[in-house]
Structure formats: C-alpha cells, structure tokens
Point group: D3
Chain length 141, copies 6
C-alpha cells in the first residue's frame, strides 16, 4: 500500500469502548516524543552553531522525559497480567525502553535515538496484538 | 479496508524531514486527549457514584487543558502563512477547536465532546492536505 | 488614547464581573514573561561567562514557552467573535506574537525580543479597547 | 502616596535594569491568580449547579497554588536584606499571604479571598516603595 | 534485618557516589506522597463536609500521580539488571505498586492506601538490600 | 541530641495525625533535590565533556527549583506561629535557604551546594525539635 493510500484510509472504523478510568492509550504518544529526540540529535550533529546546539541539549532533556512518561503509562496503565502471560518479555521491553530514553538524554548518537524508536515499536506491537487499537481509541466519525 | 488490514499496514514508509527546531507534529496528540474527554463524559453519565463522578470532572479539566495545548501547538507551530492562504478558515477552525475544548471542560454533554473531536479532525485534515505526515513524522523502520 | 496616557490611566475602575469560568485576563502575564526573555537576551550578550550563557539559553526556553501560553490564553479564552469583527487582524496579531515567541527561543537578537514585546502590546491594546480591564480585573480596594 | 494615586502613577518610567538572573518581578502575577480565586468563590456561591461547583473547587486549588508560587517568588527572589531593614514585617506579611492562599484553597468564604488580595496589595506596596517598578519592569516603548 | 532495626540504622554512612547523571534516589519520595494519599483518605472518611470531600478527591489525584512518578523513577532509573537477578519479583513489585497507586486514585478505602504503603516499603527494602542508601544519598555533614 | 544520634533515632514512633489538609511534611524532600544539585556540581567539575556539562547546567536548574519549592512548603505550610516564637530566626533560615538554592542555580562551586545542604539541615532540625516526625509522617507498619 502506498503512503498516499494509507493516509487517505480512515484511521479507526468502529466505536471503541473501555471499562477503566481514562482508558485511552496509544504508543504514538511515546513515539512522537521519541521522534522529536531523534530529529534533535540529527540537527545537533548537522549544526556548528553553539546557541542552537545548547538549545538542542536542553529541549532533548524534556522530550526524552516525556517519552519516559508515556512509556510508563503504557507499562503500568495499559498492560494487564494476561498481557504479561502472552508476552513474557513485556516488563523487560518496557524497562529497556525507559532506560534507552534515559540514555538518549545523555547522548548525541543517532543510533541510540533509533534504538529508542525500535523499542517503542515493540511496545506498539504488543499493544496491537492485545487488541489495543480497538479497545482504547475512538473511531473517527 | 477492514480494521485489521488498516492496523497491519505500515504507519509511515519514508524518512521524514523537517527544517525547523522540534519539527515533529501530529494532531493525534490533541485527538488522544480529546478522546479521553469524550470517554470521561460518557462514563460520568453512565455512573451514579459520587466519588467517581467528582474524579471525572477533575480529570476532564486536565485532559481538556492538554487538548488545548496540543491544538495551540498545531496552530502556531505547524501551520505557516502558505497554509492560511490555502485554507482561509484555518484560524477560525483552530480558534473554534480551542473554544470547544474550553466548553468540554464545562459540560457533561457528550455531543459537545464529539464536536471537539470533529474540529480536531478538521485540523488533522488540513495537516494531511499540507503534507504534514511526510514532512513531520519519521518512518517506522 | 496615546500609549503614555494609557499607562497613566487607572488599571481598574469598577468592580469587575464575568459570566464565564475563570474570567480574569491580563496581557501583563504574557508581557512579564516576554520582558524576562528580553532581559535574558540582553544579559547573554553582555556576558562572556560560559556557565551563565548556557543558563540563559535554558531559562529563556521556559520563559518564552510561558509567554506563548499566556498569548494563547488571551487568544482563545478572552477574545470573542465580536472582537474579531472589530479588529479583523486579531487572529493574525496573536498568531504572529506566538510565532515571534518561538523565534525568541531560537535567537539572541535583542531586536527580536523587542518585536515580541511590541506584538504583546498590540494584544494589550485590543484588550483595553474591548473593555478588558474593567471586565476582567478586580478593582483594588 | 495614596493607593489611588499609586494606581494612577505610570507603571514603568525608565529602562529597567537588573544585575541578577531573571530580574523581572511584579506582584500582579500573584494578584491575577488571587483575583481568579476571588471570582471563583463568588461564582461558586452564586451557583446551585453541582458540576459547576465541583469544577470551581478543583480549579481554585490550582489557582491558589499559583498564587502561592508567585508570592514565594516575590519573597525569596525580589526582596533583599535592605528591604527587610526598611519593612520589619516583610517576612510576616509574605508568610501570612502564603498561609492565606492555603486558606483560600479550603474555603468558599469570599471575605477570606478578599483578605488574600489585601495581603498581596501589601506586598505590592513594599515592591513599589522599594523601587520595584522601575528596577524590575521594562518601560513600554 | 527487621523493619524496626532498619529504621534505627543510620540512613547514610559514607560519602555517596554515582557514575550516572542524577544519581540520587530514595523511595521516601514515593512514600511521602503515598502517606499523603493515606491521610487524605482518612480525612475524607472522617468528614461530612462536601467542599472538603471534593477537595480531598482532587488533591488525592495529584498526590497519587506523584507517587506513581517516584515509583517509576526507582524502577527504571535506580534498579539495574543485577538487582533483578537478585530479586526476581522486582518488576512485579514495582508494577503492582504503580497499579496500586492507580487504584488509590479511584478509591476511598483506607486498606488500599495501606497496601500502597506496603508495596513501597518492599521497594524500599530492595533499595536498602542493594546498597541504595550508601550509594545514592549523601551523608549528613 | 547530636546529628549522629538524630540519624540513628527512629523516624516515626507513633501513628501520625494532622488537623490540616495534606499534613505530611519532611525536609528530606528538599534535601534529596539539593543533594542532586551537589552531585551535579561535583560531576560538572570532574568532566571535560561539553555535552555532559551543558546537561548538568540545565538539569541543575530544575533540581534547584524543586529544592526551593520544598523549602517553601516547609516554611509556609508546616511552620506555625508557635514555631517562630521558639526559633526567632526561622524566617531568616528559610529565606537564606531559598536564596542559597537560587545561588546554586548560578554557580558550579561545590562549597555553595554544601551550604544549601547545611541550611536545609537547619530546617530539618527545627522540624524535628517541633515534633515534626511524629506529627507529620506515618509510622512504618
């Protein structure tokens, strides 16, 4: 499927439901912040301007902190014991993702920022495989 | 396209780029918070428990505030003069969406929460029509 | 009324009232944060101390973010359709002010910090011309 | 100088200067949040709507917290030992103002909200009498 | 070492050191917020005042959120793979503590608030058994 | 009671009680953040890495701000007029501690970070001498 086709497709097609308080979850919240980190690292490395580079480091700190927060929300709010039964490495993947976000605060190595995205994508996969999209997001009208 | 097919599809297929600081934008950030408001209103109306209902009102206040923040980010950070030229009602749609989020703080009317989602979907449409997905999000690996 | 006369005028002349939640508004909230940015830029340029200059950039980031927040509050919470009818460039002025605050994050050019103050003063003028002081602030006892 | 005269006086008459980081101070920041508390208490008492009243209590909590923060900033950031020498009750007034803001969180008594405004006005007076406006605010252009 | 003995033991006996950014950790940060929740639940149940009870629910929401944050910090920032090797239920205890903090948001059952304290005490025990006090806190002078 | 003895003493010896909202206080909250500042200054001085040093300055800013917040909470929420009667320098010690935290934002001098810890220990002493531990913390089970 081409990019154009995908973006034209409806994003959700049925009424979602949830039975817990604040039952809306989406790993995209973590991914969006982690993409921010990735781009900041990229721009940092492409720049020689001291003011810009200092700002990159300060802003990356915040974005990586938000990434950690959204990973935590997935870990302790979305995932349930039955999900751990299905994915025995669930705790470990979330833990590694959090620790990778800490590392992304400390580094300007683009490969590390990519590893963070990859770990979030593994959380995203577990969310999808456990029915997350239909259970937690509302359908577009 | 079925829901299953859609979720199986890659979410982004090419390397994104941006030429401004912190160039990652996605109206899903606003929509996720607004869906939270929608579900909270729904649960509020389905409940007769005083403790639960009070919590719904307090939490909705925060979620609607986050919705406003993410709408603001789209308005003043993502959209550029050329986008206003293309969508003359751009300011008005963003303004109405912000005001609707204020209204959602004040009400427990589900129809108003739906109107907020609809207004965010209009912002989402303008983001898509102006090349937002490819320009602002990173491709999944 | 000239700018000087405006500053000489009493800031609140009658018991304020409001019929919406949280009806207290004053562009001084945005201006105070923007003045902070101005002074930080000034001090940055006057200094040769690396520790101090790095702190200036990190703190300016926060102050400019607060400026944006307070501009947003004026735009979507204080201003009403009748104000847009009276000031057709209202959306544009608020938009430019927000974008200027973003620029102030990125620069150490004092002229840009001054432009931000000037744009906030235009919002302040529209607030005054639409009866903002009497309608939104409480009179000193 | 009487209170009325004070309000009539220009708020900033010369280019401000400061020799410490972030030298912009204005008790209006505390007063604006405290006015918010006052109006919320007023509206709470005028309403019989349960949803509205619950929201009033939740929002007042935040506004009073911000009031405390801005009082704290005046106390420990603006005021210097020479100001305490001039106003021996400076610590006591700031302390009472902070404690009054705590009380305003707990009460829906409009008289207590007024007392908070009065205490902030005493801080404002000490700020003016110690040259605060000229020293800490920038002149309008 | 018994719990009583533990409380009698010195809290910091040597100059701490760390080789990672921000190496100061102490489960007391989580416990202090969780004690706040406990007392709020207690006071809620002892009161018949509607204003007070509504405030209890709103404030408890924030305090339980802070509790979760501090539990998360212990989990992903303090604990290392060798600690998991020593305490195989480390992930599970932290996960249950986070979920219990979520539950404490939802309930006014004092027993649930006590269970949260107990779970934090288990994290505290693992922190102590892994040398946390000496490694992460500074000795009083 | 000597400092060493104090650290050896049990931290909570009876079921705590409080008669005000949110009656849990502990100067350790301020001390933990101030220790963070101390270690950051130490690491800053031990490093020659520009990225790391810039991060130190940005993170220290936040940690010192949290220190100030927790000092403020002790000052205006925990301490009562009878405590000022007993410790006439109470206002002055808290004021100096807050100002010292401001200074710690500005400096990379380890001695200044130590002075902040010492001032917080004086607040801690006043909290202990006024029965703070038993009155404000819950006993471990």
């Amino acid at each position: 499927m081409s990019r154009v086709t995908r973006w034209l497709a409806p994003r959700a097609v049925a009424h979602a439901h949830c039975d817990i308080p604040c039952g809306v979850y989406d790993p995209q919240q973590a991914r969006i912040e982690a993409e921010s980190c990735y781009k900041i690292v990229q721009k940092y490395n492409d720049s020689t301007d001291d003011v810009f580079r200092t700002r990159c480091l300060a802003v990356k700190e915040e974005r990586a902190e938000l990434t950690k927060h959204h990973i935590d929300v997935m870990w302790h709010d979305y995932f349930k014991p039955e999900h751990v039964a299905r994915f025995p490495d669930l705790h470990d993947v979330c833990w590694k993702a959090s620790k990778q976000a800490s590392l992304v605060k400390r580094t300007v190595d683009l490969g590390e920022a990519q590893k963070l995205l990859d770990l979030i994508d593994r959380i995203d996969m577990m969310w999808r495989e456990t029915g997350g999209p239909a259970a937690t997001r509302l359908a577009a009208g």
